[in-house]
Protein backbone atom coordinates (compact mmCIF):
# COMPACT_ATOMS: atom_id res chain seq x y z
CA UNK A 1 0.00 0.00 0.00
CA UNK A 2 1.14 3.48 -0.74
CA UNK A 3 0.37 4.98 2.64
CA UNK A 4 1.64 3.17 5.64
CA UNK A 5 1.94 4.63 9.10
CA UNK A 6 5.51 5.32 10.04
CA UNK A 7 6.85 4.31 13.38
CA UNK A 8 7.46 7.91 14.40
CA UNK A 9 3.97 9.38 13.92
CA UNK A 10 2.79 9.68 17.52
CA UNK A 11 -1.02 9.36 17.71
CA UNK A 12 -3.22 11.44 20.02
CA UNK A 13 -3.51 10.10 23.53
CA UNK A 14 0.08 8.90 23.76
CA UNK A 15 1.41 12.15 25.20
CA UNK A 16 -0.02 14.02 28.17
CA UNK A 17 -1.70 17.33 27.26
CA UNK A 18 1.07 19.23 29.04
CA UNK A 19 3.84 17.53 27.07
CA UNK A 20 1.83 18.06 23.88
CA UNK A 21 1.44 21.77 24.64
CA UNK A 22 5.19 22.19 25.18
CA UNK A 23 5.75 20.54 21.80
CA UNK A 24 3.33 22.90 20.07
CA UNK A 25 4.95 25.95 21.69
CA UNK A 26 8.40 24.92 20.45
CA UNK A 27 7.06 23.96 17.03
CA UNK A 28 5.19 27.26 16.54
CA UNK A 29 8.33 29.19 17.38
CA UNK A 30 10.40 27.26 14.85
CA UNK A 31 7.71 27.30 12.15
CA UNK A 32 7.41 31.08 12.40
CA UNK A 33 11.19 31.43 12.12
CA UNK A 34 11.23 29.05 9.16
CA UNK A 35 8.47 31.05 7.46
CA UNK A 36 10.40 34.29 7.92
CA UNK A 37 13.71 32.82 6.75
CA UNK A 38 12.31 31.19 3.61
CA UNK A 39 10.21 34.26 2.84
CA UNK A 40 13.36 36.35 2.89
CA UNK A 41 15.19 34.00 0.53
CA UNK A 42 12.42 32.96 -1.82
CA UNK A 43 10.11 35.97 -1.86
CA UNK A 44 6.94 35.24 -3.73
CA UNK A 45 8.29 31.90 -4.96
CA UNK A 46 7.93 30.63 -1.38
CA UNK A 47 4.40 29.29 -1.58
CA UNK A 48 4.53 27.36 -4.88
CA UNK A 49 8.06 26.02 -4.29
CA UNK A 50 7.51 24.87 -0.72
CA UNK A 51 4.05 23.48 -1.51
CA UNK A 52 5.08 21.39 -4.50
CA UNK A 53 8.22 20.14 -2.76
CA UNK A 54 6.16 19.12 0.26
CA UNK A 55 4.04 17.04 -2.11
CA UNK A 56 7.33 15.63 -3.44
CA UNK A 57 8.44 14.48 0.02
CA UNK A 58 5.04 12.88 0.57
CA UNK A 59 5.26 11.02 -2.74
CA UNK A 60 8.93 10.11 -2.25
CA UNK A 61 8.02 8.38 1.01
CA UNK A 62 6.23 5.78 -1.11
CA UNK A 63 9.43 4.81 -2.94
CA UNK A 64 10.96 1.86 -1.16
CA UNK A 65 13.14 -1.15 -1.70
CA UNK A 66 13.20 -4.54 0.03
CA UNK A 67 15.90 -4.92 2.66
CA UNK A 68 15.38 -8.28 4.34
CA UNK A 69 12.66 -10.43 5.87
CA UNK A 70 9.72 -8.34 4.77
CA UNK A 71 11.13 -5.03 5.94
CA UNK A 72 11.75 -2.30 3.43
CA UNK A 73 14.01 0.69 3.24
CA UNK A 74 12.26 3.96 2.62
CA UNK A 75 12.64 7.67 3.04
CA UNK A 76 11.45 10.04 5.72
CA UNK A 77 12.96 12.93 3.79
CA UNK A 78 13.90 15.51 6.40
CA UNK A 79 17.65 15.11 5.90
CA UNK A 80 17.40 15.06 2.09
CA UNK A 81 15.28 18.21 2.06
CA UNK A 82 17.70 19.95 4.43
CA UNK A 83 20.79 18.94 2.42
CA UNK A 84 19.37 20.13 -0.89
CA UNK A 85 17.20 23.05 0.26
CA UNK A 86 18.62 24.16 3.59
CA UNK A 87 17.34 23.42 7.09
CA UNK A 88 14.70 26.15 7.37
CA UNK A 89 13.06 25.30 4.07
CA UNK A 90 13.17 21.63 5.09
CA UNK A 91 11.48 22.47 8.39
CA UNK A 92 8.68 24.21 6.52
CA UNK A 93 8.27 21.41 3.99
CA UNK A 94 8.20 18.71 6.64
CA UNK A 95 5.68 20.74 8.65
CA UNK A 96 3.35 20.76 5.65
CA UNK A 97 3.89 17.02 5.10
CA UNK A 98 3.14 16.16 8.71
CA UNK A 99 0.16 18.52 8.82
CA UNK A 100 -1.45 16.86 5.79
CA UNK A 101 -0.64 13.38 7.06
CA UNK A 102 -2.24 14.20 10.40
CA UNK A 103 -5.23 16.18 9.16
CA UNK A 104 -6.09 14.08 6.16
CA UNK A 105 -4.95 10.55 6.94
CA UNK A 106 -4.93 10.57 10.77
CA UNK A 107 -1.29 9.54 10.47
CA UNK A 108 -0.12 11.15 13.68
CA UNK A 109 -2.34 13.04 16.11
CA UNK A 110 -3.48 16.66 16.09
CA UNK A 111 -2.81 17.66 19.70
CA UNK A 112 0.59 15.96 19.58
CA UNK A 113 1.40 17.30 16.10
CA UNK A 114 3.84 19.80 17.60
CA UNK A 115 6.11 16.95 18.65
CA UNK A 116 5.62 15.10 15.38
CA UNK A 117 6.75 18.22 13.55
CA UNK A 118 9.76 18.53 15.84
CA UNK A 119 10.69 14.83 15.62
CA UNK A 120 10.29 14.29 11.91
CA UNK A 121 10.78 17.84 10.64
CA UNK A 122 13.03 19.91 12.84
CA UNK A 123 15.28 17.31 14.47
CA UNK A 124 15.81 15.40 11.23
CA UNK A 125 16.40 18.52 9.14
CA UNK A 126 18.85 20.20 11.48
CA UNK A 127 20.80 17.13 12.57
CA UNK A 128 21.02 15.79 9.01
CA UNK A 129 22.14 19.15 7.67
CA UNK A 130 24.64 19.67 10.46
CA UNK A 131 26.30 16.26 10.06
CA UNK A 132 26.36 16.61 6.26
CA UNK A 133 28.15 19.96 6.46
CA UNK A 134 30.51 18.73 9.17
CA UNK A 135 31.61 15.69 7.16
CA UNK A 136 32.26 17.94 4.18
CA UNK A 137 34.22 20.38 6.26
CA UNK A 138 36.45 17.65 7.68
CA UNK A 139 36.75 15.36 4.65
CA UNK A 140 36.68 17.92 1.85
CA UNK A 141 33.94 18.75 -0.60
CA UNK A 142 34.58 16.05 -3.20
CA UNK A 143 31.82 13.84 -4.56
CA UNK A 144 32.67 10.93 -2.27
CA UNK A 145 32.74 13.11 0.83
CA UNK A 146 29.39 14.50 -0.19
CA UNK A 147 27.87 11.03 -0.51
CA UNK A 148 29.39 9.88 2.78
CA UNK A 149 28.13 13.03 4.45
CA UNK A 150 24.65 12.54 3.03
CA UNK A 151 24.54 8.94 4.25
CA UNK A 152 25.80 9.85 7.71
CA UNK A 153 23.50 12.86 7.95
CA UNK A 154 20.44 10.83 6.97
CA UNK A 155 21.30 7.99 9.36
CA UNK A 156 21.89 10.37 12.25
CA UNK A 157 18.68 12.28 11.46
CA UNK A 158 16.55 9.15 11.77
CA UNK A 159 18.30 8.13 14.96
CA UNK A 160 17.85 11.57 16.53
CA UNK A 161 14.15 11.60 15.57
CA UNK A 162 13.62 8.15 17.06
CA UNK A 163 15.50 9.02 20.25
CA UNK A 164 13.41 12.16 20.65
CA UNK A 165 10.20 10.18 20.18
CA UNK A 166 11.26 7.68 22.83
CA UNK A 167 12.09 10.45 25.29
CA UNK A 168 8.71 12.12 24.76
CA UNK A 169 6.86 8.84 25.31
CA UNK A 170 8.87 8.24 28.47
CA UNK A 171 8.24 11.71 29.86
CA UNK A 172 4.51 11.17 29.26
CA UNK A 173 4.66 7.86 31.11
CA UNK A 174 3.48 5.96 28.05
CA UNK A 175 6.51 3.77 27.70
CA UNK A 176 9.39 3.38 30.16
CA UNK A 177 12.58 4.98 28.93
CA UNK A 178 14.50 1.77 29.55
CA UNK A 179 12.32 0.05 26.96
CA UNK A 180 11.40 2.77 24.52
CA UNK A 181 14.89 4.17 24.05
CA UNK A 182 16.79 0.95 23.29
CA UNK A 183 13.93 -0.39 21.17
CA UNK A 184 13.47 2.78 19.14
CA UNK A 185 17.19 3.43 18.78
CA UNK A 186 17.97 -0.14 17.69
CA UNK A 187 15.11 -0.44 15.20
CA UNK A 188 15.86 2.95 13.70
CA UNK A 189 19.56 2.20 13.47
CA UNK A 190 18.47 -0.30 10.79
CA UNK A 191 15.80 1.96 9.26
CA UNK A 192 18.39 4.73 9.09
CA UNK A 193 20.50 2.61 6.73
CA UNK A 194 17.67 2.67 4.18
CA UNK A 195 17.24 6.40 4.69
CA UNK A 196 20.97 6.93 4.26
CA UNK A 197 21.21 4.86 1.07
CA UNK A 198 18.26 6.61 -0.58
CA UNK A 199 19.45 10.07 0.49
CA UNK A 200 22.97 9.46 -0.82
CA UNK A 201 21.56 7.91 -4.00
CA UNK A 202 19.24 10.85 -4.57
CA UNK A 203 22.09 13.31 -4.03
CA UNK A 204 24.32 11.32 -6.42
CA UNK A 205 21.67 11.42 -9.15
CA UNK A 206 21.09 15.14 -8.59
CA UNK A 207 24.85 15.81 -8.77
CA UNK A 208 25.02 13.88 -12.03
CA UNK A 209 22.01 15.46 -13.74
CA UNK A 210 21.65 18.97 -12.30
CA UNK A 211 24.89 19.74 -10.46
CA UNK A 212 23.99 23.42 -10.14
CA UNK A 213 21.06 22.53 -7.86
CA UNK A 214 23.40 20.84 -5.40
CA UNK A 215 26.47 22.99 -5.96
CA UNK A 216 24.76 26.29 -5.39
CA UNK A 217 24.39 24.54 -2.09
CA UNK A 218 20.78 25.04 -1.30
CA UNK A 219 17.78 26.60 -2.90
CA UNK A 220 17.16 28.46 0.36
CA UNK A 221 20.24 28.17 2.58
CA UNK A 222 19.60 30.24 5.68
CA UNK A 223 22.26 28.85 7.93
CA UNK A 224 21.74 31.63 10.43
CA UNK A 225 20.86 30.25 13.81
CA UNK A 226 20.82 26.66 12.59
CA UNK A 227 23.56 25.57 14.96
CA UNK A 228 21.87 27.21 17.93
CA UNK A 229 18.58 25.51 17.15
CA UNK A 230 20.20 22.08 16.98
CA UNK A 231 22.24 22.51 20.15
CA UNK A 232 19.26 23.96 22.02
CA UNK A 233 16.93 21.16 20.99
CA UNK A 234 19.43 18.43 21.80
CA UNK A 235 20.10 19.99 25.19
CA UNK A 236 16.35 20.13 25.89
CA UNK A 237 16.09 16.48 24.87
CA UNK A 238 18.91 15.49 27.21
CA UNK A 239 17.39 17.37 30.13
CA UNK A 240 14.00 15.79 29.46
CA UNK A 241 15.54 12.34 29.26
CA UNK A 242 17.41 12.72 32.50
CA UNK A 243 14.76 14.54 34.52
CA UNK A 244 12.49 11.63 35.47
CA UNK A 245 15.53 9.50 36.19
CA UNK A 246 17.40 12.14 38.14
CA UNK A 247 14.57 12.71 40.62
CA UNK A 248 15.08 11.06 44.04
CA UNK A 249 11.97 8.92 43.57
CA UNK A 250 12.46 7.30 40.23
CA UNK A 251 9.48 6.75 38.00
CA UNK A 252 7.27 4.10 39.54
CA UNK A 253 7.62 2.12 36.38
CA UNK A 254 11.37 2.00 36.58
CA UNK A 255 11.40 1.02 40.23
CA UNK A 256 8.99 -1.85 39.74
CA UNK A 257 10.72 -2.95 36.62
CA UNK A 258 14.00 -3.13 38.44
CA UNK A 259 12.46 -4.84 41.44
CA UNK A 260 10.81 -7.50 39.34
CA UNK A 261 13.86 -8.17 37.25
CA UNK A 262 12.13 -6.93 34.15
CA UNK A 263 15.12 -4.97 33.04
CA UNK A 264 17.60 -7.79 33.27
CA UNK A 265 15.33 -10.20 31.43
CA UNK A 266 14.45 -7.49 28.96
CA UNK A 267 18.00 -6.60 28.29
CA UNK A 268 18.92 -10.06 27.13
CA UNK A 269 15.69 -10.64 25.29
CA UNK A 270 13.89 -9.30 22.32
CA UNK A 271 14.86 -5.72 21.85
CA UNK A 272 18.59 -6.00 21.99
CA UNK A 273 18.88 -6.28 18.25
CA UNK A 274 22.38 -4.87 18.12
CA UNK A 275 24.48 -6.76 20.63
CA UNK A 276 26.27 -4.52 23.06
CA UNK A 277 24.02 -1.63 22.25
CA UNK A 278 23.76 -0.94 25.95
CA UNK A 279 27.00 0.03 27.56
CA UNK A 280 27.49 -2.37 30.46
CA UNK A 281 29.47 -0.08 32.74
CA UNK A 282 26.61 2.40 33.21
CA UNK A 283 23.91 1.18 35.56
CA UNK A 284 20.93 3.15 34.36
CA UNK A 285 19.80 1.59 31.08
CA UNK A 286 18.25 4.82 29.81
CA UNK A 287 21.43 6.80 30.27
CA UNK A 288 23.48 3.92 28.90
CA UNK A 289 21.46 3.81 25.72
CA UNK A 290 21.67 7.56 25.33
CA UNK A 291 25.44 7.28 25.61
CA UNK A 292 25.41 4.38 23.16
CA UNK A 293 23.39 6.38 20.65
CA UNK A 294 25.88 9.20 20.98
CA UNK A 295 28.79 6.83 20.47
CA UNK A 296 27.11 5.21 17.47
CA UNK A 297 26.52 8.61 15.94
CA UNK A 298 30.15 9.53 16.45
CA UNK A 299 31.24 6.25 14.90
CA UNK A 300 29.11 6.75 11.79
CA UNK A 301 30.51 10.25 11.50
CA UNK A 302 34.12 9.11 11.75
CA UNK A 303 33.58 6.32 9.21
CA UNK A 304 31.94 8.78 6.84
CA UNK A 305 34.89 11.14 7.12
CA UNK A 306 37.39 8.32 6.51
CA UNK A 307 35.46 6.96 3.52
CA UNK A 308 35.19 10.45 2.09
CA UNK A 309 38.91 11.13 2.49
CA UNK A 310 40.12 7.78 1.13
CA UNK A 311 37.79 7.92 -1.84
CA UNK A 312 38.81 11.51 -2.56
CA UNK A 313 42.50 10.57 -2.51
CA UNK A 314 41.83 7.66 -4.85
CA UNK A 315 40.08 9.89 -7.38
CA UNK A 316 43.01 12.30 -7.31
CA UNK A 317 45.48 9.44 -7.80
CA UNK A 318 43.71 8.10 -10.83
CA UNK A 319 43.52 11.48 -12.45
Amino acid sequence: MLLRPEALHIPDGFLTPLVAAVGWALAVLLILTALRQTQRQLGERQVPLMGVLAAFIFAAQAINFPVAAGTSGHLMGGALAAIVLGPWAATLIMTAVIAVQGLLFQDGGLLVMGWNILNMGVFTAFSGYFVYRLVQRVAGSGGAARMAGAFAGAWVSVEVGATATAVELAVSGTSPLSFALPAMAAVHALIGVGEGLITAGALASLTATRPEVVRSGQVAPGRRGAGFVLVGLLAALLVAALSPLASPHPDGLEAVAQAQGFLSSGRSAPFEILPGYLLPSIDNPGVATLAAVGLGTLLVFVVAVIVGRVAARRTIDTK
Binding site: D107, P176, S265
Partner: protein, 261 residues
Protein backbone atom coordinates in the same frame (compact mmCIF):
# COMPACT_ATOMS: atom_id res chain seq x y z
CA UNK B 1 -7.20 7.56 -9.95
CA UNK B 2 -6.31 7.87 -6.29
CA UNK B 3 -9.34 9.67 -5.13
CA UNK B 4 -8.85 7.36 -2.15
CA UNK B 5 -5.33 8.69 -1.72
CA UNK B 6 -6.06 12.38 -1.71
CA UNK B 7 -9.64 12.73 -0.69
CA UNK B 8 -10.99 11.47 2.58
CA UNK B 9 -14.09 13.62 2.17
CA UNK B 10 -17.46 11.87 1.99
CA UNK B 11 -19.83 14.19 0.11
CA UNK B 12 -23.13 14.80 1.79
CA UNK B 13 -25.66 17.40 2.73
CA UNK B 14 -26.13 16.62 6.40
CA UNK B 15 -26.20 19.06 9.28
CA UNK B 16 -22.56 18.24 10.04
CA UNK B 17 -21.52 18.85 6.42
CA UNK B 18 -23.19 22.27 6.40
CA UNK B 19 -21.60 23.54 9.61
CA UNK B 20 -18.92 26.21 9.46
CA UNK B 21 -15.57 24.39 9.10
CA UNK B 22 -14.14 26.46 11.97
CA UNK B 23 -16.78 24.99 14.28
CA UNK B 24 -15.95 21.48 13.12
CA UNK B 25 -12.18 21.98 13.53
CA UNK B 26 -12.50 23.43 17.03
CA UNK B 27 -15.09 20.82 18.02
CA UNK B 28 -12.90 17.94 16.84
CA UNK B 29 -9.92 19.35 18.73
CA UNK B 30 -12.02 19.73 21.90
CA UNK B 31 -13.14 16.10 21.70
CA UNK B 32 -9.53 14.97 21.17
CA UNK B 33 -8.54 17.06 24.19
CA UNK B 34 -11.33 15.43 26.18
CA UNK B 35 -10.03 11.99 25.22
CA UNK B 36 -6.50 12.97 26.28
CA UNK B 37 -7.71 14.38 29.61
CA UNK B 38 -9.79 11.35 30.58
CA UNK B 39 -7.92 9.44 33.31
CA UNK B 40 -7.09 5.77 33.05
CA UNK B 41 -9.88 3.39 33.95
CA UNK B 42 -12.69 5.97 33.58
CA UNK B 43 -14.66 3.59 31.39
CA UNK B 44 -18.01 5.51 31.61
CA UNK B 45 -16.29 8.65 30.26
CA UNK B 46 -14.76 6.70 27.38
CA UNK B 47 -18.17 5.17 26.69
CA UNK B 48 -19.79 8.60 26.69
CA UNK B 49 -17.22 9.92 24.23
CA UNK B 50 -17.74 6.93 21.96
CA UNK B 51 -21.49 7.58 22.10
CA UNK B 52 -20.98 11.26 21.16
CA UNK B 53 -18.67 10.41 18.27
CA UNK B 54 -21.02 7.71 17.00
CA UNK B 55 -23.87 10.21 17.24
CA UNK B 56 -21.92 12.73 15.13
CA UNK B 57 -21.18 10.00 12.60
CA UNK B 58 -24.87 9.11 12.40
CA UNK B 59 -26.00 12.72 11.99
CA UNK B 60 -23.37 13.16 9.27
CA UNK B 61 -24.89 10.19 7.45
CA UNK B 62 -21.67 8.17 7.61
CA UNK B 63 -23.17 5.22 9.47
CA UNK B 64 -22.42 4.13 13.03
CA UNK B 65 -19.29 2.06 12.40
CA UNK B 66 -17.58 4.26 9.79
CA UNK B 67 -15.15 6.04 12.10
CA UNK B 68 -14.78 3.10 14.49
CA UNK B 69 -13.48 0.81 11.77
CA UNK B 70 -11.17 3.34 10.18
CA UNK B 71 -9.71 4.43 13.51
CA UNK B 72 -7.67 1.25 13.74
CA UNK B 73 -5.02 2.78 11.44
CA UNK B 74 -2.99 4.07 14.37
CA UNK B 75 -3.01 0.69 16.11
CA UNK B 76 0.57 -0.37 15.17
CA UNK B 77 1.91 2.48 17.29
CA UNK B 78 0.38 0.84 20.37
CA UNK B 79 3.36 -1.51 20.30
CA UNK B 80 5.44 1.29 21.79
CA UNK B 81 3.22 1.35 24.88
CA UNK B 82 3.06 -2.42 25.35
CA UNK B 83 5.64 -2.53 28.19
CA UNK B 84 3.34 -0.64 30.58
CA UNK B 85 1.38 -3.90 30.74
CA UNK B 86 4.31 -5.35 32.64
CA UNK B 87 5.84 -2.39 34.41
CA UNK B 88 2.80 -0.89 36.14
CA UNK B 89 2.88 -1.81 39.82
CA UNK B 90 0.12 -4.11 41.05
CA UNK B 91 -0.90 -7.73 41.57
CA UNK B 92 0.25 -9.87 38.74
CA UNK B 93 -2.60 -11.63 36.98
CA UNK B 94 -0.57 -13.92 34.80
CA UNK B 95 2.96 -14.35 33.59
CA UNK B 96 4.14 -14.59 30.05
CA UNK B 97 5.02 -18.19 29.30
CA UNK B 98 8.71 -17.96 28.47
CA UNK B 99 9.87 -14.54 29.64
CA UNK B 100 8.08 -14.68 33.01
CA UNK B 101 7.07 -11.04 32.83
CA UNK B 102 4.10 -10.35 35.10
CA UNK B 103 0.97 -8.80 33.59
CA UNK B 104 -0.69 -6.62 36.26
CA UNK B 105 -4.31 -5.51 36.55
CA UNK B 106 -3.42 -1.79 36.71
CA UNK B 107 -1.15 -2.39 33.74
CA UNK B 108 -4.05 -3.71 31.69
CA UNK B 109 -6.15 -0.75 32.84
CA UNK B 110 -3.51 1.77 31.76
CA UNK B 111 -2.79 0.07 28.46
CA UNK B 112 -6.50 -0.34 27.65
CA UNK B 113 -7.19 3.31 28.47
CA UNK B 114 -4.30 4.39 26.29
CA UNK B 115 -5.63 2.39 23.35
CA UNK B 116 -9.12 3.80 23.90
CA UNK B 117 -7.81 7.37 24.04
CA UNK B 118 -5.96 6.88 20.79
CA UNK B 119 -8.90 5.13 19.10
CA UNK B 120 -11.41 7.81 20.13
CA UNK B 121 -9.11 10.70 19.18
CA UNK B 122 -8.49 9.22 15.75
CA UNK B 123 -12.26 8.82 15.29
CA UNK B 124 -12.72 12.51 15.98
CA UNK B 125 -10.15 13.37 13.31
CA UNK B 126 -11.73 10.96 10.83
CA UNK B 127 -15.18 12.50 11.31
CA UNK B 128 -13.69 15.97 10.79
CA UNK B 129 -12.01 15.11 7.46
CA UNK B 130 -14.91 12.94 6.25
CA UNK B 131 -17.46 15.74 6.65
CA UNK B 132 -15.28 18.71 5.62
CA UNK B 133 -13.67 19.27 2.21
CA UNK B 134 -9.93 19.78 2.72
CA UNK B 135 -10.02 23.21 1.07
CA UNK B 136 -12.62 24.35 3.62
CA UNK B 137 -10.52 22.89 6.41
CA UNK B 138 -7.40 24.82 5.40
CA UNK B 139 -9.52 27.95 5.02
CA UNK B 140 -10.78 27.43 8.57
CA UNK B 141 -7.23 26.98 9.88
CA UNK B 142 -6.26 30.27 8.26
CA UNK B 143 -9.24 31.99 9.85
CA UNK B 144 -8.19 30.49 13.19
CA UNK B 145 -4.88 32.37 12.86
CA UNK B 146 -2.63 29.69 11.48
CA UNK B 147 -0.03 31.72 9.49
CA UNK B 148 -1.36 32.50 6.00
CA UNK B 149 1.76 31.43 4.08
CA UNK B 150 1.69 28.07 5.87
CA UNK B 151 -1.99 27.63 5.01
CA UNK B 152 -1.16 28.43 1.38
CA UNK B 153 1.74 25.95 1.38
CA UNK B 154 -0.45 23.19 2.85
CA UNK B 155 -3.17 23.93 0.26
CA UNK B 156 -0.58 23.77 -2.52
CA UNK B 157 0.75 20.53 -1.19
CA UNK B 158 -2.73 19.06 -1.18
CA UNK B 159 -3.29 20.31 -4.72
CA UNK B 160 -0.16 18.57 -6.06
CA UNK B 161 -0.25 15.52 -3.80
CA UNK B 162 -1.86 13.17 -6.26
CA UNK B 163 0.10 14.59 -9.20
CA UNK B 164 3.41 13.72 -7.58
CA UNK B 165 2.10 10.48 -6.06
CA UNK B 166 1.18 9.44 -9.60
CA UNK B 167 4.69 10.33 -10.77
CA UNK B 168 6.10 8.21 -7.97
CA UNK B 169 3.80 5.33 -8.94
CA UNK B 170 4.97 5.58 -12.55
CA UNK B 171 8.59 5.41 -11.38
CA UNK B 172 7.78 2.37 -9.24
CA UNK B 173 6.01 0.70 -12.15
CA UNK B 174 8.95 1.38 -14.44
CA UNK B 175 11.31 -0.15 -11.91
CA UNK B 176 9.16 -3.27 -11.57
CA UNK B 177 8.98 -3.56 -15.34
CA UNK B 178 12.78 -3.56 -15.55
CA UNK B 179 13.33 -5.82 -12.57
CA UNK B 180 12.85 -9.27 -13.99
CA UNK B 181 14.63 -11.97 -12.01
CA UNK B 182 15.42 -15.57 -12.82
CA UNK B 183 14.31 -18.01 -10.15
CA UNK B 184 17.23 -19.18 -8.09
CA UNK B 185 19.38 -16.16 -8.89
CA UNK B 186 20.54 -14.06 -5.95
CA UNK B 187 18.86 -10.71 -5.41
CA UNK B 188 20.99 -7.66 -6.14
CA UNK B 189 22.76 -6.24 -3.09
CA UNK B 190 20.91 -3.85 -0.81
CA UNK B 191 23.30 -0.98 -1.47
CA UNK B 192 22.66 -1.23 -5.20
CA UNK B 193 18.90 -1.28 -4.65
CA UNK B 194 19.21 1.69 -2.34
CA UNK B 195 21.03 3.60 -5.05
CA UNK B 196 18.31 2.79 -7.56
CA UNK B 197 15.63 4.01 -5.13
CA UNK B 198 17.77 7.10 -4.50
CA UNK B 199 17.97 7.77 -8.22
CA UNK B 200 14.18 7.57 -8.41
CA UNK B 201 13.84 10.03 -5.54
CA UNK B 202 16.33 12.37 -7.20
CA UNK B 203 14.47 12.28 -10.49
CA UNK B 204 11.17 12.85 -8.68
CA UNK B 205 12.73 15.85 -6.93
CA UNK B 206 13.81 17.40 -10.22
CA UNK B 207 10.37 16.89 -11.72
CA UNK B 208 8.81 18.54 -8.65
CA UNK B 209 11.29 21.42 -8.76
CA UNK B 210 10.63 22.07 -12.44
CA UNK B 211 6.91 21.78 -11.91
CA UNK B 212 7.05 24.33 -9.10
CA UNK B 213 8.87 26.73 -11.44
CA UNK B 214 6.20 26.29 -14.12
CA UNK B 215 3.44 26.74 -11.54
CA UNK B 216 5.08 29.91 -10.25
CA UNK B 217 5.42 31.30 -13.78
CA UNK B 218 1.76 30.56 -14.44
CA UNK B 219 0.78 32.26 -11.19
CA UNK B 220 2.81 35.37 -12.02
CA UNK B 221 1.22 35.45 -15.48
CA UNK B 222 -2.15 35.57 -13.75
CA UNK B 223 -1.19 38.44 -11.50
CA UNK B 224 0.22 36.72 -8.40
CA UNK B 225 2.01 39.25 -6.19
CA UNK B 226 3.08 37.08 -3.26
CA UNK B 227 -0.15 37.53 -1.34
CA UNK B 228 -2.52 34.59 -1.14
CA UNK B 229 -6.09 35.85 -0.93
CA UNK B 230 -8.93 33.61 0.06
CA UNK B 231 -12.62 34.10 -0.46
CA UNK B 232 -14.72 34.40 2.63
CA UNK B 233 -16.82 31.32 2.22
CA UNK B 234 -18.58 30.96 5.53
CA UNK B 235 -19.98 33.13 8.24
CA UNK B 236 -21.05 31.96 11.65
CA UNK B 237 -24.82 31.47 11.89
CA UNK B 238 -26.73 30.93 15.11
CA UNK B 239 -26.79 27.23 14.29
CA UNK B 240 -22.97 27.23 14.10
CA UNK B 241 -22.73 28.93 17.50
CA UNK B 242 -25.14 26.38 18.93
CA UNK B 243 -23.09 23.51 17.49
CA UNK B 244 -19.91 25.00 18.94
CA UNK B 245 -21.54 25.29 22.35
CA UNK B 246 -22.83 21.72 22.11
CA UNK B 247 -19.34 20.46 21.18
CA UNK B 248 -17.73 22.29 24.08
CA UNK B 249 -20.42 21.03 26.46
CA UNK B 250 -19.96 17.46 25.23
CA UNK B 251 -16.20 17.64 25.70
CA UNK B 252 -16.64 19.16 29.14
CA UNK B 253 -19.14 16.47 30.09
CA UNK B 254 -16.70 13.72 29.10
CA UNK B 255 -13.90 15.25 31.17
CA UNK B 256 -16.30 15.70 34.10
CA UNK B 257 -17.50 12.11 33.86
CA UNK B 258 -13.89 11.00 33.82
CA UNK B 259 -13.01 12.80 37.03
CA UNK B 260 -16.23 12.09 38.97
CA UNK B 261 -15.83 8.54 40.07
Amino acid sequence: MHSDLTDQYRPGDSLVHRLDPRVKAVGALLLILAASLTPSGAWPAFGLLLLILTGVGLVAGLGPAFAMKRAFVALPFALAALPILFTTPGDSLLRLPILHWPVTAPGIERFGSLLLRMWLAVQSGILLTAATPFADLTWALGELHMPRPLVAIVSFMYRYLFVLADEALRLLRARSARSAALPGRRRPPVVWQGRVAGGMVGSLFLRALERSERVYAAMVARGYDGQVRLLRRFSMSSLDWAALAAGAAAAGLVVLAGHLR
